[in-house]
């Protein structure tokens, strides 16, 4: 999927994450993580982000995560939503994500 504009999803509530994604044409993935549990789960969060982006076939993207302790499933859901919004896509590849 190709990122063509800014996309945002989530919130700053406890146990949620606010994710902003933007285009990064030809420059790969740029992930900026700011988490209250960075030391404990920073690596795990980056893994979830990269896995999700792999599933969605997103190569070039800027991702900013403001994490307030979201679980993996939440991070994944928020990232998917942000990417769809940023791709201006109306057809979701549901089967790829299940």
């Amino acid at each position: 999927m190709k990122i063509v504009k800014t996309g945002m999803a989530g919130s700053l509530e406890s146990s949620d994450v606010l994710i902003t994604v933007d285009s990064n044409a030809g420059k790969g993935r740029e992930i900026d993580l700011d988490s209250i549990v960075q030391r404990q789960y920073g690596k795990q969060i980056l893994k979830v982000v990269n896995n999700t982006l792999d599933l969605l076939s997103v190569e070039d993207i800027k991702v900013r995560l403001e994490d307030k302790g979201a679980l993996d499933c939440t991070i994944r859901a928020r990232l998917e939503a942000a990417v769809y919004r940023a791709a201006g896509s109306k057809t979701y590849p549901w089967e790829k994500l299940s």
């Binding site: 989530g10 700053l12 606010l18």
Partner: protein, 348 residues
């Protein structure tokens, strides 16, 4: 979005009762509902406001949680709502005004300090966003180095402006003119820029730049644009001058700032006074130039606008350069004249 036991509601500014409730809540938090605020979201317990967050386009302010409700992360909830709204509005970046004691709270919410004044702080949602602005100005190496600066609105460009710019260009090797970008003046930015360019084409040591967010904008100096209220907010002037003197001037080698004497407008004269107080200590000399006198007293853009509304071409000829006069007499210029006249009639 999880909203807990409180109701989320945006304030309808068309309804006086809702506005009055918000104003009352903010007053209790030692905040005031500025005239430029165009969005407000509140948390309610029953019909009572217990937390609020407001925005003047991309500037967030008046974010408060009533004391008995603190400690429930309601600021996070308010900020989520403001951020999502800003996203839907398509703002490329956000600023945030708050009391300095709240700095840590908003740092945790993704904001970085940009400028300070006693008791208040202006934050931005990116670190050193001003650097990008300076890069985008694309100033050639040859135009850097010891220089002077002017910040002007030029609504429109008059012989008074010309006089001030000319003076600066004569006394300095390089002069940077920052033209206020905000489109809240009756002459649109593009027209103001065109008239400044045409009126200064012969001055080859002058560089003209777009003022944008970091120089007298609705973010750094909102009071400038709600002048008619005659609200004088010293903090705003200090925030704007803090950015100029601490971040912009050192990067461009600016050691002098030229300013026209301002005997009429209280907001601008306060701004000038604070400039004289703050800048010299930060290595920038303030040069105040008396107004240029012409037939009928000192030249001012306010008087030019009035004369344009009256289509008093003879007077205008003595106040504006031929380049500006040509525009004023064009169809676009006359249309602006009609606009001013309508405003005047309405306010009478």
């Amino acid at each position: 979005m999880f909203t807990g036991q409180y109701d989320v509601k945006t304030i309808n500014f068309g309804r006086e009762t809702e506005k009055a409730d918000l104003r009352e809540f903010l007053a209790g938090e030692d905040l005031s509902l500025d005239g430029d605020i165009d969005y407000a979201v509140c948390l309610f317990e029953g019909d009572r406001i217990i937390a609020s967050g407001c925005a003047a386009s991309n500037v967030l302010k008046c974010i408060a949680v009533a004391a008995p409700y603190q400690g429930q992360q309601l600021t996070n909830r308010i900020m989520s709502l403001l951020r999502i709204r800003a996203y839907h509005e398509g703002f490329p970046g956000l600023f945030l005004f708050t009391k300095d004691i709240n700095e840590a709270v908003f740092r945790d919410l993704g904001f970085f300090p940009l400028a300070r004044a006693p008791g208040v702080i202006l934050m931005e949602d990116k670190e050193e966003g001003w650097r990008r602005y300076l890069e985008e100005l694309n100033i050639p190496e040859g135009e850097r180095g010891t220089s002077a600066a002017l910040v002007m609105n030029c609504n429109p460009f008059t012989l008074g402006h010309r006089y001030l710019v000319e003076m600066a260009c004569r006394e300095n090797d390089r002069v940077h003119l920052f033209l206020v970008k905000e489109n809240l003046s009756v002459f649109p930015y593009d027209v103001r820029l065109k008239l400044v360019r045409e009126g200064t084409a012969d001055l080859d040591n002058l560089s003209i730049h777009e003022g944008r967010d970091y120089i007298i904008s609705h973010a750094t100096f909102p009071t400038y644009f709600i002048k008619e209220k005659k609200v004088i907010n010293e903090s705003h002037a200090r925030i704007d001058l803090d950015i100029f003197s601490r971040l912009i001037a050192p990067e461009l080698g600016i050691v002098r700032r030229y300013v026209g004497e301002e005997p009429y407008c209280p907001v601008t004269s306060l701004y000038n006074r604070i400039m004289e107080e703050m800048l010299p200590g930060r290595g920038i000399e303030v040069v105040t130039i008396p107004r240029k006198e012409a037939a009928g007293g000192a030249v001012s853009a306010t008087k030019v606008r009035k004369a344009l509304a009256e289509e008093d071409w003879d007077t205008l000829e003595g106040w504006v350069p031929p380049t500006t006069l040509r525009f004023l007499q064009s169809e676009d210029g006359r249309r602006i004249g009609n606009l001013i006249r309508k405003h005047q009639e309405e306010s009478e």
